[in-house]
Symmetry: C2
Subunit: 518 residues, 2 copies
């Protein structure tokens, strides 16, 4: 197959020139790809073809899919606002199967373990392949070489970029919303399936050919605020139940209690304090993982002690961030998503929450984005190598088990810190070379482990500020050596030649491939 | 000139096939123009070409215009949020003149008497012509045949449509905002030049090649809410003063005290009551003119008496609408613009205000818009003829003195009522044939004058409901006869053959022309 012709990209990774039959561009380096061309121009519509009273209700999702012209080979998108509680994507493909439609490209903003149900459709051909995160079972299925097409992994910003630039043309977007009106205006704030935001569906609403909004909480026009604008929507559908509330949002997010991780968090916060990153008016982003949350709590303590505040924190909102907002320690939370019920409550009540989207925060093909304005991003990784390159999608055994999320996009923050254990289950996390390259080392500034902190030599400014510090500053090579001393030299993953997925960089170029596990 | 080849359009008006050298489509009838093609795809940008820390500040507007590449023949847009208090558009063209740039197409969302300053540039060639409303002196200048190009008059929705569809490609959009940050996020809510909303600049931000945000109130990132998103913005500029606050927003809007107009308002409200238009959950739009405001006050009284409320009112917000919102008589105000200080205050404080834009409310080339969802729109007109056709841009003497605003777009409301005096200054308002056709009669349902109410015969439903009414129901022909009885047969305007402007319909087709006054 011409598809398997490989070239070495700027990161030294062998990548194909075609994916699923379409030409792609190999990664050229950070900020090296010059972009040309124009944004995707969707078909012009006219009001005369839509109900004059604005009522776009159709009886069932099946009817809407028929009206939207669902047919073989189309690209259909869904979104992960309902996370592991999503009931909609499964229903959608059940209907596609019923209708006898084949070879669909599923373009989710992410898929979750609840979508294991769809493996049957990948096997029998209703779905040809998935472009989007494959968490858990679907990733394992792909890693076993069982998916017909090649998976394409994109960051949240990369997904917006791909849609905006016309790399991915969405035929039908199916947008589940906790609240909507018959015109198609929708939000994720109110109702049994409340999720907070609907930003992951923004690009789809703007650029898809047909847009279907599905809700279990239909309200009279106007549904406000309209996070999705009805002017982009073709059909509105009411169904009984979009999601399983317990699995959509955690009742409460939990800070780590593991002493090792608490130590990582404390070291990370001390590092930010000593290097002057924590100062009045600074900004930070930390995820909703246990360690990240703990970092946030240490930040809070430091701000309280110093009597300073942050200008903004980038969410996912959770109860810890909300408490900082409500105590006046941050002026604004710039939310991308919402992780717990406190976040949902606060978002509906508090003007200090600002909705962001992959467009505002992460799209690399815009006139700037917010990621670069963040002073420090605290991120995770499955592996980091001696060149500070990092991996977030595969484990060291080669299995594709995680999505990229906004991780690549956050690498553009002014300082990027990865607080990670030196090893997990006696498998080193700091390694010679990452199994899959997701983030180029030049963008990763600091690796904090329980046995030492490595600063990227490119950041001489940070190293200068750390002179005289009692933090255990070391080098990434020493960390790797120590990990190997404890765990032994790790065995490399065993791969077949078959490419089962590719990892795109934020500019749409191909950064690396994931191969079938042998 | 081939430009002057005229054809009769579906409204029987003779219109050219080319305007300013570009082909145009004659009006085909309401809902008759099938649209093809795709929306305008602006150039793809990349973050690597923008400051990594998001700081897009440049020192002066002149510097920003140079960086944006201002040159001969470009299309430059501005917006009328500052109304007659705008200082920005004049500064902009002063700079263009200084730079020696020629033949600009000025594409304002509207122009006001304060822009009389620009006539010198129309004369000496800095500005080639204006596409947009020309209120007052600029309209008179055009009507005298002095503008080099042909003016193109569009409704607010038609302006969005033209930009979205690529009919008008904006090279540089200059967006004045009461509040902005160095990334380019901007709103009209806070600061000395507060205007409420910035919706008229939305299309420009999305589709223009280069976007410059200018403010006299620069705040640290994030400027929230971001009515204009910095991700669309190339440069941010801080200047001393954007506008003259007294002229931006009236301190307070005033209801008419004229007994004749109060009568019109009362008759209109009674008409809406008797025909069942005013019912629990209804919706209405009335402008900020004295008569319209009075209609609103009568609506309020009727709602209070009946103990009912409206689901929404379409703004411009003003103190009367705000009082209805705050008394719980309307659930939401869907704001397009803001007419007085009470409106500005309430918008910043009250969640019942919902921002709309020409995209959500008026764009005819969308998947529906809000105009069609409004139960009743109360509008004005300079003339109405015996076929219910109406004119809002010229006076009977032929002079082009007003813009279209959202008027054409509002004609898609379920019932359209024009409360107008039968004559003004002894010149009939109800006439044989309107001087300039702006709205096709089939969309105009009711004409309310102090001497009788004419219902469009197409609205048999309304006529049915009025049986037994004590309202002075008559016919449009009788109204015209009565006007002529009182004022005499009006003299037609005297026109030269030169077309000085065209009136576009909401779908981009050419509805009528305006000729040079002899």
């Amino acid at each position: 197959m011409p598809e398997t012709k490989l070239v070495k990209n700027a990161a030294g990774r062998s990548v194909p020139l075609k994916i699923n039959g379409k030409p792609v561009i190999p990664y050229k380096g950070v900020g090296k790809h010059n972009v040309t061309g124009t944004k995707h121009g969707p078909k012009i519509n006219t009001c005369k073809d839509f109900p004059s009273d604005g009522n776009k209700l159709v009886g069932t999702l099946k009817e809407a899919l028929k009206k939207a012209g669902l047919k073989d080979g189309m690209t259909v998108s869904t979104h992960h606002h309902f996370r592991n509680g999503d009931l909609l994507a499964n229903q959608l493909f059940d209907i596609a199967k019923e209708m006898g439609v084949k070879d669909l490209r599923w373009f989710p903003s992410a898929s979750f373990p609840c979508h294991e149900h769809l493996i049957q459709y990948l096997e029998e051909g209703t779905i040809h392949h998935i472009e989007g995160s494959m968490n858990g079972a679907l990733g394992r299925f792909a890693s076993q070489g069982k998916m017909k097409g090649v998976g394409v992994l994109r960051s949240h910003g990369g997904r917006y970029q791909a849609v905006q630039d016309g790399e991915v043309k969405i035929d039908i977007a199916v947008i589940g919303a906790a609240c909507a009106d018959p015109f198609g205006n929708a939000n994720g704030l109110y109702g049994d399936s409340a999720t907070g935001l609907l930003g992951f569906a923004l690009a789809d609403s703007q650029y898809a050919d047909k847009v279907i909004v599905v809700t279990d909480n239909m309200v009279p026009f106007p549904c406000v605020p309209w996070q999705i604008q009805g002017n982009y929507v073709d059909y509105a559908v009411e169904i009984d139940k979009l999601g399983d509330p317990d699995k959509i949002i955690s009742g409460t997010t939990k800070i780590t209690k593991s002493p090792d991780r608490v130590l990582l968090a404390e070291m990370t916060a001390q590092f930010c304090d000593e290097t002057g990153i924590i100062r009045n008016g600074f900004s930070f982003q930390s995820g909703a993982g246990g360690t990240s949350l703990a970092v946030g709590e240490y930040f809070k303590k430091i701000m309280q002690e110093k009597g300073i505040k942050a200008r903004f924190a980038r969410g996912g909102s959770n109860k810890y961030l909300v408490s900082m907002l409500e105590e006046g320690l941050v002026d604004y939370i710039l939310d991308g998503q919402t992780f717990d019920l406190e976040g949902v409550r606060s978002m509906a009540e508090n003007q200090g929450h600002v909705w962001t989207s992959p467009f505002t925060s992460y799209n690399y093909h815009g006139k700037g984005n917010f990621a670069g304005l963040v002073d420090v991003a605290i991120l995770g990784a499955t592996e980091v190598d001696v060149n500070f390159n990092a991996n977030v999608v595969t484990h060291s055994d080669g299995y594709l088990l995680h999505g990229i999320g906004g991780w690549q996009n956050c690498l553009f923050s002014k300082t990027v810190i990865l607080p990670i254990p030196l090893f997990r289950d006696r498998i080193p996390v700091v390694v010679d070379e990452v199994t899959t390259l997701c983030g180029p080392g030049e963008l990763i500034d600091v690796v904090v482990t329980e046995r030492g902190i490595a600063v990227n030599p490119l950041r001489t400014d940070l190293l200068e500020k750390l002179k005289g510090s009692d933090l255990p500053i070391t080098t990434i090579g020493e960390l790797k050596d120590e990990a190997e001393k404890i765990c032994g030299k790790p065995e490399k993953a065993h791969f077949d030649n078959q490419i089962i997925a590719v990892v795109k960089w934020v500019d749409g170029t191909v950064l690396d491939v994931v191969k079938k596990v042998r």
